[in-house]
């Protein structure tokens, strides 16, 4: 909730009153902030006030707060360096509790009422940080210190690690589940414009006017980029007003999408660009949309990169003191936020652009001295500064900043053309030092696209090279530092992109800005210090990771020559800012030390993401229940209503067992198993994969993909088949029924359905296109109720009168078309339990009704619904395998004792592999049963079967347990196992190791534990 500033009653809590006057550094007028919208916020526990339109950084500066952070390694005091995305220092923990955001850059945090932020990485406070003692010993902790010291011995590292881990790191991850929601959008456009400064807006206007579909995004709170910090005019309007007008025109174009607060953070293959839109955090709590952030997955025909440039700091002694700020940021704070970051300023620059900050400060009444490394400053801005009477010291440098927790003064010396320092330094008092070491074009997206940047000696910067994808750069990211050039180039790029995507309509004229000479630049990587780099106070290159010039020079002395190695040795560029301000300076210093041109030292690789992206955004809505599809059968609601517990099988929810009150798994399964063995049970078997196979070559296909023969299967009969891969290993199994001469229905395992269909299609489409066969997945079409048990026929006969259930008329492994409970059905007499069993298939739309009717009809016979656990026990008692549990891709039919299913007289996939020496040797792991000596012990699945006596180390292994259950039917435990040469070892006793290190003795047995002659399923 925000409120107006005046008139205002006294507030209750002490220290929370008189808002505007407390903003001691706010200018009385100007800026793009709403002065009538005063916002309360807290930083490090203290209450402050700011204005709507502020960032957290500008609001703190308005309150005269500079010390906002402690550095990573030495815990030195740090202030706000920049006004944007490149900020290395001013990281905060934003918010509290579950929604907290670690390492937010203050310079990008929109101020909202009630905002709470704390410094990261300072204990107990930024004002008094205990670990600042690290700084006193910093000379003892050079680059590579941790590695050399603590990794010297493993034992030492284990001791030191926990202390080092606690001392390092930045913000804290939330510990609770994130309560916010995030969503994603796929989007398509003709032209994507990344960046909404003068170049980007000009490009979007040009492309939008042609009628092309355009998306334009900008990462800042407002569009305009540098225009919002500038006092130039565009098309005769104040820059900020021109931005308003452009947004209005874009807003009236139906095919243009304008995305504010949206960062283009990844440029991937095929012009696929990912954008992160922050939709909520800038709004007061009550006005936030449902989705906090949105991930845009944009496929663009053409991309215009108008990503601007980042100003570089200069590297001199103690250049990290609060009060040292990038010159462009100073202009931004003064003009955009109406905040003066200091009362007495020095500007230190090697280029002309920094004079803008001197002009801004001068206009705001702040005394300024400009120290320009150039002997003869050239350019329009320095000329303006001279005309304005601003004091100027050409050919000079700031060699050292001085102060405790804030800048107090600077030491200035002359620097001659050969890089030699002049006479004794002159100390100048100031509380603000605006620095500019030139500009680094933001080529991140360009490079992520696969393009190679090229080095420009003139500006000492990498600029975009030849485009590897459909992208073109415009504006400051192509070193067009003059607004006039940037506007023209943006307009041209937008027009060209529209044309390239098929829109060549009128693009109007380019926005007009007065041209301005940008002047020259003096390359200055490291400002010399009279004490030399090694002895001078630290000259920081990477502020976030506390990497100083001395560290880089040490790396060079130790033999590191590639920038990639130097980076890894010193950790330069490894922070959350990825070295946006420091990397190029670091490369320059290394190149200078090696006496090589910068490009020869190497270019760093730019990888997505441009800025950190929240995990919530990556996850989107696919969380919790929506993480993966939950597939349910037509009878699912019945299972839920009957208290089933569920097991995940692939994506399916299958009833696991149906506990009655007080029953555990063991009790419920015992009851369910005995019901099937003694009366009748019913199982939802709908999830099995079902493939409809039609065509004159259907039988040939089956012959080739199954190991057993199919040609002679009679119409109306079912057959079990084993499917092998090319290596002869079992990869699926199931029953297939012949519905007519050229029409089969194949069943696959539940988890294998999609894999088997793809496998069959692959063979049909790539190797056997001459086969006349069509496959159709009918898995979801059929709902299947499996009735198993001696009374199953009695139940079915109550519901079905058009089939002769006599065993002679409807024998085991046959199929009948029927009407069950009034629904057209297909009944298959097949069994996975060893009992008399019928599987009733009806269209899924009738599945629940028929299931219910069967359950009702079965009441008189004690019908019991059973789940997958009981199904597993029943089949294990019969020694039936489950592919994927008893097999693991290394098991042949012969290994399973199913050699009888390997046809000798026909060809099939995997046949040749079965003749290899390895697959035909006799000591392969073979499928057997295991009976423990103690019938009460249920072996753990996966337990190893020992080859010899326990205790020997190492102990050779002979195999492992694949399935293991307590068998209610047999009243004892049973297990299935793969054991080397097992089929020839029946009756042998073996040791099976258990997890606690002990072993259990068991006897190798026939895997068919129950009804070995299989009489029950026939009668």
């Amino acid at each position: 909730m925000s409120r107006t500033a005046a008139p205002k009653a006294n507030t209750s809590a002490a220290g929370e009153m008189t808002p505007t006057t407390s903003m001691s550094h706010r200018l009385p007028q100007g800026g793009l902030v709403q002065r009538d919208r005063v916002l309360d916020f807290r930083f490090n526990g203290r209450a402050y006030q700011g204005l709507r339109g502020d960032t957290l950084a500008s609001a703190l500066l308005a309150n005269g707060v500079h010390l906002v952070a402690r550095s990573f390694k030495y815990h030195r005091p740090r202030g706000i360096l920049s006004a944007g995305v490149e900020e290395p220092n001013a990281l905060v923990q934003l918010g509290e509790g579950a929604s907290t955001v670690p390492n937010a850059r203050m310079t990008e945090v929109p101020l909202v009422d009630g905002l709470v932020a704390t410094s990261v990485h300072a204990s107990p406070s930024v004002e008094f940080d205990l670990r600042a003692v690290n700084g006193w010993f910093s000379r003892l902790m050079p680059a590579g210190f941790y590695y050399k010291t603590f990794m010297a011995s493993q034992a030492a590292w284990h001791f030191f690690e926990k202390h080092i881990r606690r001392a390092s790191g930045w913000g804290e991850s939330p510990r609770e589940r994130d309560p916010d929601r995030y969503d994603k959008r796929f989007a398509h456009c003709d032209v994507l414009v990344a960046g909404g400064g003068v170049a980007g807006l000009s490009a979007a206007l040009a492309a939008g006017r042609t009628g092309a579909r355009v998306i334009v995004c900008d990462e800042q709170q407002a569009f305009g980029g540098w225009l919002l910090s500038s006092d130039e005019q565009v098309d005769g309007l104040a820059a900020a007003q021109w931005v308003e007008q452009v947004l209005d025109e874009l807003g009236r174009m139906p095919e243009v999408q304008v995305l504010a607060r949206t960062t283009a953070f990844g440029y991937h293959d095929h012009d696929f660009v990912t954008l992160a839109e922050r939709r909520a955090d800038h709004l007061p709590a009550g006005e936030r949309p449902v989705y906090r952030e949105r991930l845009w997955k944009v496929r663009a025909k053409q991309v215009v990169l108008a990503t601007g440039a980042h100003e570089r700091p200069l590297v001199f002694a103690d250049n990290d003191l609060p009060g040292v700020m990038l010159a462009g940021a100073v202009s931004t704070y003064v003009r955009r936020y109406a905040v003066v970051p200091g009362r007495k300023a020095v500007v230190f620059t090697n280029n002309d652009a920094a004079y803008d900050s001197a002009l801004a400060l001068h206009a705001a009444g702040v005394p300024v001295l400009v120290v320009d490394a150039r002997e003869q400053p050239q350019g329009a801005l320095s000329a303006r500064a001279r005309a304005a009477g601003i004091e100027l010291l050409p050919g000079g440098v700031v060699t050292e900043a001085r102060g405790g927790k804030h800048l107090r003064s600077v030491l200035i010396q002359r620097l001659d053309a050969q890089g030699r320092l002049g006479d004794a330094p002159r100390e100048v008092d100031c509380d603000l030092l605006a620095v500019s070491g030139g500009f680094s074009p933001v080529i991140h997206l360009h490079c992520q696209a696969g393009s190679k940047p090229v080095w420009s000696d003139e500006d000492a910067a990498f600029q975009p090279g030849a485009a590897a994808q459909s992208e073109r750069s415009a504006g400051a990211c192509r070193r067009r530092m003059d607004l006039c050039d940037a506007a023209r180039e943006g307009h041209a790029a937008g027009s060209a992109a529209a044309t390239a995507s098929g829109f060549d309509g009128a693009t109007g004229r380019a926005p007009a800005v007065a041209a301005m000479a940008v002047g020259t630049q003096r390359t200055l990587w490291l400002v010399p210090h009279r004490a030399g780099a090694a002895r001078a106070p630290k000259q920081f290159v990477d502020l976030q990771n506390d990497v100083a010039a001395s560290d880089l020079l040490l790396a060079v002395r130790e033999g590191f020559e590639s920038i990639e190695h130097v980076k890894r040795y010193t950790a330069m560029g490894f922070g959350t800012d990825q070295g946006k301000t420091g990397n190029i300076n670091g490369m320059g210093i290394v190149a200078q030390a090696l006496g090589k041109p910068v490009p020869q030292v190497g270019t760093t690789t730019f990888r997505p993401n441009y800025t950190p992206v929240s995990f919530g955004l990556v996850a989107g809505l696919e969380l919790g229940e929506g993480f993966d599809p939950v597939r349910t059968t037509a009878m699912h609601a019945w299972h839920v209503a009957h208290d089933a517990l569920f097991e995940d099988v692939g994506q399916w929810k299958r009833p696991w067992y149906y506990p009655r009150p007080g029953e555990d798994l063991h009790a419920a399964v015992g009851r369910e198993v005995l019901a099937v063995r003694n009366a009748v049970g019913m199982l939802d078997a709908s999830t099995l994969g079902k493939i409809d196979i039609q065509g004159p070559d259907a039988a040939t296909l089956l012959n080739w993909v199954y190991s057993n023969a199919w040609s002679k299967l009679e119409v109306g009969k079912c057959r079990y088949g084993l499917m092998l891969d090319e290596n002869g290993m079992v990869f699926d199994d199931g029953v297939t029924v012949r519905l007519s001469e050229n029409h089969f229905l194949m069943h696959t395992t539940t988890g294998g359905a999609a894999r088997v269909l793809a496998w069959l299609e692959r063979w049909l489409q790539t190797e056997w296109p001459h086969l006349k066969v069509y496959l159709t997945s009918v898995t979801d079409h059929w709902a299947t109720t499996a009735l198993a048990g001696p009374r199953s026929r009695d139940v079915l006969m109550k519901l079905c009168s058009d089939v002769d259930f006599d065993d002679a008329a409807f024998p085991f492994m046959s199929c009948r078309e029927a009407t069950v409970a009034g629904v057209k059905a297909r009944i298959m007499r097949i069994s996975f339990s060893g009992e008399r069993s019928y599987e009733v298939n009806v269209p899924a739309a009738d599945g629940a009704r028929v299931w219910g009717a069967i359950h009702e009809a079965g009441r008189a016979f004690g019908i019991t619904a059973y789940g997958t656990e009981t199904m597993h026990v029943l089949r294990a008692e019969k020694g039936y395998i489950i592919v994927g549990q008893d097999t693991d891709g290394s098991v042949t039919p012969v290994d399973l004792g199913m050699g009888g299913l390997v046809a000798k007289t026909k060809d099939f996939i995997g046949k040749r592999s079965l003749a290899r020496p390895d697959t035909s040797r006799s000591d392969r792991k073979q499928f057997v049963g295991l009976l423990t000596d103690d019938p009460g012990i249920v072996l753990p699945e996966g337990a190893q079967v020992l080859a010899g006596e326990p205790g020997a180390i190492p102990t050779p292994m002979a195999g492992h347990v694949t399935s293991s259950y307590a068998s209610p039917t047999l009243g004892r435990s049973i297990a299935l196992a793969l054991v080397k040469g097992g089929q020839g070892r029946m009756g042998e006793r073996v040791h099976v190791s258990t997890r606690d290190g002990r072993s259990v003795t068991a006897t190798i047995a026939n895997p068919v534990f129950y009804d070995p002659k299989s009489e029950r399923q026939h009668a």
């Binding site: 989705y291 929506g626 929810k653 004159p696």
Partner: protein, 200 residues
């Protein structure tokens, strides 16, 4: 685990209780259950097959990629070079199957009744394209996708076939039956801002 009350309503097409947003801006969604759905396979280079199919269906099969064709009572969606979905009215599956089986007798073709295997989800209202774009990577902009076109894609992790209804912002999605609960769950998730009213 899925909320079962919701699931039952999703599976039966009964109205859900979530629809509270203004009807004009809200997404409208409803299952069209019980439609006849036949998967028809055959060789498009075989004139006899095309002719027999046309006789049986009383409308010619669409042969261009990504197209659907509306007959007087049928919609036929081409889902592959030799693969079509024939969609007819409630209870028409048996009659359609009889006509196809008779007409295609002796030809290498396959007609399979999959009426229970899929359900048609109808989505309409202003936000429909936005809602689809949350989970479907296709470009459904009017310049890129029009009535008469059909496409196979995915919506979140459910594979779907979809086509546009007339020129209205309305689409139909062919969803595998076992994915109905999942699709409805995601529909509720994606419509949290625009609102959801049920019923087609």
């Amino acid at each position: 685990m899925l909320d079962t009350a919701f699931l039952r309503s999703a599976l039966t097409g009964a109205p859900s209780s979530t629809g509270s947003a203004p009807a004009t801006r809200a997404l409208r969604a409803g299952w069209r259950e019980g439609l006849a759905l036949i998967n028809l396979r055959g060789d498009p280079a075989d004139a006899a097959f095309l002719d027999a199919a046309k006789q049986a269906l009383r409308v010619a099969l669409p042969l261009d990629a990504g197209t659907a064709r509306d007959g007087t009572a049928l919609r036929i969606v081409r889902v592959g070079p030799d693969d079509w979905f024939v969609i007819g009215g409630h209870g028409e599956a048996d009659a359609l199957m009889r006509r196809l089986r008779t007409g295609l007798a002796g030809l290498h073709a396959a007609a399979t009744d999959v009426s229970s295997g899929y359900t048609v989800l109808r989505l309409s209202g202003d936000p429909v394209r936005e809602v689809l774009a949350q989970g479907c990577p296709l470009d459904l902009h009017p310049r890129a996708f029009r009535a008469g076109q059909a496409a196979g894609s995915h919506w979140f992790r459910a594979s779907v076939w979809l086509w546009q209804l007339g020129d209205e912002p309305g689409f139909e999605l062919l969803v595998r039956r076992s994915f109905m609960g999942y699709v409805w769950l995601m529909l509720q998730q994606v419509s949290a801002e625009c609102g959801l009213t049920t019923g087609s």
